[in-house]
Amino acid sequence: MEIQKLMKKGMVASIPMIVGGIPFGILFGSLAMSNGLSPWFAIAMSSLVFAGSAQFVALGLIFIDAPLWVIVSTTFIVNLRHILYAADMVKFIKHLPLKWRMLIGFGLIDESYAAVRPLYGNQQINVENGHYAFLGSFLSFYLMWQISTLIGVVAGELIPGMSEWGLEFAMVTTFIGIITPYLKSTQLKPVAPYWVALFGASFTSLVLNGLPNNLGLLFAALVGVTMGFLATKQTANSIVKEGV
């Protein structure tokens, strides 16, 4: 398959989440403005950091004059989940040259992982050519994020109070759109462990919501992963027993 087709495949898989990302980027730009930051700051952060939820958390911390080390370490915690995506992607990209690995690392966000990873799973792309699909997905998300940040910067100046419109709800539905396919049963996988992970992570995130620096998020994620994993073992054991 030629490179353009592969890139297009990655882009097409990303379209729904791009739609969901636009309001979120606009909100980021306008929030930065209403917090009295310069347009350059918002643009530089979106283009260099490229991490939606961490950028929001950072804005909140800047707003309360948090020290630099708090902002950087909070970013670390909020983005720590990406190492888990990287751990899952390593097997597909380990043969690639360094510059490709750097590019994919830079662009490894929730959305591009969620868009491209299933394409490997259902054999639409493979180890040989999948990185082009990832590039297509990454470029479209990157472009969307920069443009929507810019729109937010401009709109935030013109339309006061925009940050109270609840635009971050777009992130909620986007993430729901990523989650639900895991929960629908197919012949390929037992679906119960994913429900277990969902409830484990959700419940824990509510209970630990008060913890500082988003630590509740990290713990909730760990609880979800552990419970899902244990539930898989349980399911596998019962299948073995029934088989006998």
Binding site: V49, F50, I62
Partner: protein, 107 residues
Amino acid sequence: MATSYLVFIILGMFAVTFGIRFCLFAKANKVVMPNWIEGALGFVPISVLSAIIVPMIFMPDGRLDVGLDNPWLLGALAAFVIGLIKQNQLLTILVGVVVFYLSKLFI
């Protein structure tokens, strides 16, 4: 706000974010994942993403709100149901946003 403070924020955030995403790729050839880690990783997206959004949905004002007058809950429920039935991401996102804003408007 001091410009250097803001510049260092961006540089620091860039360094940790890129560091996290890239560190396993740096020596990708030498990274060997044990089987059980592979198995556990499959649960990462659903766990992380639900841990991010569930507090936003159920605690929009920092307090638990499970009433049917909570637009965040209504929009999320609508998106969740459509997502499960239709398996169409774009539809899921759009229905969620529409229900969210309609209930914001009428409640």
